[in-house]
């Protein structure tokens, strides 16, 4: 397969050569688009913003157990490193499966994985590939529970992006999966989770 690389760069250089002046990189603070009203705030504001962004906040493991019982969901995927912590407190009637079997995708009614951090400005959860035990476990079940250490918060979207390491796949999650493609009517749970939960650990 031969690429068009050289020809494309030659065309680009020729076109750009016509410019007498090239626009300079503008001087701006990276967080310039953070609204004034959304600057500052700690864990409490973060909780409110999570809820406002369609993410249910659960404060304790027993409370998570109640939520799962309420939804009548008893079998789900769980990050193996979290299963030992959560299992005993969730109760015997809730089964945590620590491998995600693609063949049995629809049998997992919830998925529990780690969130790497949160963003206060937007009520966003950050899921990094290296902290996520299985991408499918965090995505395919109807309910996704992201476990987050509440100390790991960024104030703004800009701060979170600037601080990214070399993780190959970072997902900023703000609420559940949704669409408004049919007549602009908002429906949740298209392909991803229909219910997004954050458990503070």
């Amino acid at each position: 397969m031969t690429d068009d690389r050289e020809a494309m760069f030659a065309r680009l250089r020729e076109s750009l050569g016509r410019l007498n002046v090239r626009t300079a990189y503008p001087d701006f603070a990276a967080d310039i688009a953070t609204p004034k009203a959304r600057r500052g705030g700690g864990p409490e504001v973060f909780r409110q913003r999570l809820e406002a962004a369609n993410t249910r906040v659960v404060e304790s493991v027993p409370a998570l157990g109640e939520l799962l019982r309420d939804r009548d969901t008893r079998h789900g995927y769980c990050d193996p490193s979290l299963a030992t912590i959560l299992g005993p407190a969730l109760g015997d009637d809730i089964e945590l499966l620590t491998t995600f079997d693609r063949e049995r995708m629809d049998e997992y009614t919830f998925g529990i994985t780690r969130a790497s951090a949160g963003i206060v400005e937007t009520g966003t959860l950050i899921l990094k590939d290296r902290d996520t035990s299985d991408r499918l476990g965090a995505l395919a079940p109807w309910i996704h529970i992201a476990c987050l250490n509440p100390d790991r918060l960024y104030a703004t979207l800009a701060e979170a992006i600037i601080d990214l390491d070399d993780d190959p796949n970072v997902i900023l999650v703000s609420g559940h999966s949704q669409t408004a493609d049919v007549e602009g009517i908002m429906i949740h749970g298209v392909h991803g989770p229909g219910e997004q939960v954050c458990l503070f650990l």
């Binding site: 068009d4 760069f9 503008p26 900023l172 669409t179 049919v182």
Partner: protein, 467 residues
């Protein structure tokens, strides 16, 4: 004189289509405005800044493209360059053939529309699946998207229910929730069956190679989580200098496109999956597509390449709202399509040059553009080019301006006509034998004559009379 092609198409549209577009576009306008004005004291400052940032990226595209290539390669991705849409097609087909997959999941990508990719893949024996709900309906109907953010803005729920019924996804049911659940159920196994998935890119950072993908449905996430190979198809204009630029650009893109502050998902993909991750692509290919873009940078039309595909210009455009995206004939509709369409057309500028005439130059598009593209100015330049290069298509259905030029050049004559203009209220314009008059007034009503009042008002207000 014949009528403009866009006019002819618009006159064939059903009232229900126009209604759907009007409602969809108007809600886009309202939500965008509400969020921007609630969040920012001076949203104009932000869009001017974003415009300079995008222009800077374009003016240095040779450097930034090379940087992005280098970083992506270091991250473990394979980078390809496609000079034309045809080359991009060949590269994709070769990767897919090598993968041994039959099913290919696809996320929404306007660049892929330039290739007519879904039809091409189908014709070559693959089973491509558009996984964005709107694009899925487009695929079921063998249709084309009529809006770059809301692909089925021209359809109502009854249309979609009929599409699902025809597509074998269940009996007729026009409840949007049922429609969504059926799509979910149908696509889940396909996400796992597909060994390859194709996405576009909203932005590509030259600094890190990170590709930003903005979605609400989670289809791009699922496509990647289920597949072994991820193919990214992006125009070279998608490259931005640094990661820090993403916060500004994403904030404006999302607010302008849907009126949200954040979409459900923003994915930042820098390379293949991490070593311990059991799901996701082991192989990542990034195709940088030129397809005439390199000829636009550095030219007087370059600002159009700042476009971040938010759709705000079409939502607000009175011509788009009365004619639908399909009237623009190409991949990109509305004001940005009026400019980008003819410039990207592989058959040459002439093919879509008439679109520049289908504008009132009212300026609403320029007012809402999050990257400050002077759209009316660019549209006027395209009109000039049509005249300069004697492009016939670009003159079609345009009334001769000679009479206006004569009047505008002779103030006394102008004043006389302004006084006599009142007579026009009594002339049956539609019945005049002149073809020009019929073509123009067939679909337009002239308001009652008000000419000359401005001058009288100006004199009364104590202004100097310079006429």
């Amino acid at each position: 004189m014949s009528r403009q092609a866009l006019d002819v198409f618009a006159s064939t549209l059903d009232e229900s289509v126009l209604q759907a577009i009007e409602v969809g576009a108007r809600s886009g306008v309202d939500k965008r405005l509400a969020t921007l004005t609630e969040d920012y004291e001076d949203p104009d400052m932000l869009r001017r800044l974003a415009g300079r940032l995008r222009q800077h990226a374009l003016d240095h595209l040779d450097e930034y493209l090379a940087n992005a290539e280098q970083r992506l390669t270091e991250n473990g991705a394979r980078v390809h360059f496609a000079g034309t849409t045809g080359r991009a097609r060949d590269i994709i087909l070769e990767i897919l053939r090598r993968s041994g997959t039959r099913v290919v999941t696809k996320s929404k990508s306007m660049a892929s529309e330039e290739l007519d990719l879904t039809r091409v893949l189908q014709a070559r024996g693959f089973e491509p699946l558009e996984t964005d709900l709107g694009e899925f309906v487009v695929q079921l109907d063998d249709d084309h998207p009529s809006h770059i953010v809301k692909p089925i803005i021209h359809k109502n729920r009854r249309d979609v229910a009929r599409s699902f019924e025809r597509g074998g996804l269940g009996d007729y049911d026009d409840d949007p929730e049922t429609i969504t659940r059926r799509a979910r159920a149908f696509m889940r196994s396909k996400f796992l069956e597909a060994r390859a998935t194709i996405t576009g890119a909203n932005f590509i950072s030259a600094e890190s190679g990170r590709i930003a993908l903005v979605t609400n449905e989670g289809n791009a996430r699922f496509g990647q989580a289920g597949a072994d190979i991820h193919i990214v198809l992006a125009g070279i204009d998608k490259v931005i200098p640094r990661d820090r630029d993403l916060a500004l650009l994403l904030s404006l893109l999302i607010r302008s496109a849907t009126g949200q502050r954040m979409t459900s998902y923003i994915e930042l993909v820098a390379g293949p999956r991490s070593a311990d991750q059991p799901s996701g692509p082991r192989e990542m290919h990034v195709i940088f597509m030129d397809a005439n873009r390199s000829a636009i940078v550095g030219s007087e039309m370059a600002p159009i390449l700042r476009c971040i595909r938010c759709g705000a210009c079409m939502n607000t455009c009175p011509v788009y709202r009365k004619s639908s995206g399909h009237a623009y004939r190409g991949v990109y509709p509305g004001p940005m399509g009026t400019v980008l369409g003819p410039l990207l057309a592989e058959g040459g500028f002439g093919e879509l040059s008439d679109l520049a005439r289908a504008s009132t130059l009212c300026g609403a598009c320029a007012d809402v553009c999050p990257v400050d593209i002077p759209l009316p100015e660019l549209i006027a330049r395209l009109r000039e080019r049509s005249v300069r290069e004697h492009v016939k298509q670009g003159q079609q259905g345009v009334p001769a301006m000679g009479l206006y030029a004569l009047l505008a050049g002779h103030p006394r004559l102008w004043r006389l006509v302004m006084r006599l203009g009142r007579l026009l209220d009594w002339v049956p314009l539609r019945k005049l034998p002149a073809q020009l008059s019929r073509a123009w007034f067939d679909t337009r009503t002239l308001p009652r004559w008000r000419g000359g009042r401005f001058r009288r008002w100006l004199r009364g207000a104590g202004g100097d009379n310079h006429d």
